[in-house]
């Protein structure tokens, strides 16, 4: 198909991911990483460093004393919170723009991603997952394919809508049918282009369970369910709406009850407002 070729050209044109991002991803995926590893990476990025320190000194954290360095920030907030902050901040540059093909105004794809990541963090904690940081990061990045597919969805939206309404397609299936490539598959291609780990690439590529064997994969299941929960709140919603398939077996596999899911939605949507407030001041 002609458009697939055009899309791949767009991927090659994509600005390279900042070095700090790849290093943080590597650290986030390594359970043996230490505080100094992450501080070492962040201090070489002046923008991230200054916004992190500014956030720490904001009224939001109400810390007893002034924070002056990345190391102090990690000590006070904890390693995971600092990694979350850096990831969310860095990725706002990619996800923060408007994506009108998906009906997303400025900031909405990013808000959707942050909301998904907060849902995922809560689910992973609830289940005592060993790879919480990996799951958080994957949830934040999973829709990266939309930033390029947006332009192609824009010209195909009527055909896509039609397949959903008349032929029971999901939005992803309709993207694949009409454009030749869907946003999850394209996300996988971008992940490879940016040298993400094979594990991260797999989750991004299958976050809508394109390959049904992903239903058996723990991290993919959590990310998938987190996105369902995020859709339910409507935060950062687009024209794709909730038109994605629901697999009850994911909840069974993760042993998430309906009460758990409700708790997650309640907690993460509260937490979402806190995070947005914090980011708006940095």
């Amino acid at each position: 198909m002609k458009s697939i070729h055009e899309i791949i050209i767009e991927v090659d044109k994509l600005v390279p991911i900042p070095q700090v991002m790849n290093q943080i991803l590597a650290i986030a995926e390594d359970p043996d990483s230490t505080m100094s590893d992450i501080a070492e990476v962040i201090i070489y990025d002046p923008i991230i460093t200054s916004s992190l320190i500014k956030a720490c000194n904001s009224a939001y954290y109400a810390l007893p004393r002034k924070v002056n360095s990345v190391k102090e920030a990690i000590m006070l907030l904890g390693l995971n919170q600092v990694i979350d902050f850096v990831l969310i901040k860095t990725f706002s540059a990619y996800m923060g723009k408007e994506h009108l093909g998906y009906g997303l105004n400025e900031g909405e794809l990013w808000r959707y991603s942050v909301s998904t990541a907060l849902m995922a963090r809560d689910l992973a904690e609830r289940k005592h997952a060993s790879n919480k940081q990996f799951i958080f990061t994957a949830s934040l990045l999973k829709d990266i394919g939309k930033i390029i597919l947006d332009r192609f969805v824009s010209g195909a939206i009527e055909e896509i809508d039609d397949l959903i309404l008349s032929n029971n397609y999901s939005f992803r299936e309709a993207e694949e049918e009409v454009i030749g490539l869907d946003h999850a598959e394209l996300g996988g291609i971008i992940a490879e282009h940016w040298n993400f780990s094979p594990e991260m690439t797999y989750v991004i590529r299958n976050h809508h369970m394109t390959d049904l064997s992903a239903l058996e994969d723990y991290a993919t299941s959590v990310v998938y369910l987190a996105e369902i929960a995020a859709m339910m709140t409507g935060i950062g919603s687009g024209t794709d709406g909730l038109a994605y398939r629901f697999y009850e077996s994911v909840l069974e596999g993760l042993e998430i009850t309906e009460d758990d899911l409700q708790e997650t939605i309640a907690l993460a949507s509260e937490h979402y407002y806190d995070v947005m407030q914090l980011l708006s001041i940095t």
């Binding site: 009906g103 959903i164 029971n168 999901s170 369902i228 859709m231 339910m232 709140t233 409507g234 935060i235 919603s237 024209t239 709406g241 909730l242 038109a243 994605y244 398939r245 629901f246 009850e248 909840l251 309906e258 009460d259 899911l261 409700q262 708790e263 939605i265 309640a266 949507s269 509260e270 407002y273």
Partner: protein
């Protein structure tokens, strides 16, 4: 001026010069109430059907849940001098994923919750719009309540 009501939030205002609008309604439900005499409007945007297993959280934020949210919302409307007989009510939302069924269909339960709570209070809605796999936005503007489906028009009530 426009005031946005996000998930688990509620807002009441004199709407003479103010527009009230919900963020996109997913599986949650938006309830808009408008008193034309007093020009007072309010929108509640709740996410979950019942606070029964979650009393602590409901105490912190009643607007998360249908039961605690609707009663706190209406109580505050009445405190603003609104009377129930002139009140125009519109409810919308409760969208769901494809092939989403029980026991995880919170949208369905949110929809049933708002219907039964309003019926229990002997209140009727002027318009309801539930279901589907798309988002809606509730808005109160210039004396009317609107249910908008972005990209697909809106209904004026």
């Amino acid at each position: 001026m426009q005031i946005i009501i996000g998930p688990a939030q509620m807002h009441i205002e004199n709407t003479r010069d103010v527009i009230l609008a919900s963020t996109s309604l997913g599986s949650g439900v938006g309830l808009a109430a408008y008193d034309p005499d007093a020009n007072i409007g309010g929108i509640l945007h709740f996410l979950l059907p019942s606070s029964a297993n979650n009393k602590y959280r409901a105490k912190k934020n009643p607007f998360l849940f249908a039961d605690t949210g609707i009663s706190a919302f209406l109580e505050q409307m009445y405190q603003h001098g609104v009377r129930s007989h002139g009140l125009k009510l519109v409810a919308a939302g409760a969208s769901h994923n494809l092939n989403q069924g029980t026991p995880y269909d919170m949208a369905q339960r949110n929809c049933l919750a708002v219907k039964s709570i309003l019926a229990g209070l002997k209140l009727t809605t002027a318009y309801e719009d539930f279901g589907g796999s798309f988002y809606r936005i509730l808005r109160i503007q210039n004396g009317y309540i609107y249910v908008e489906v972005p990209g697909h028009g809106e209904k004026k009530v």
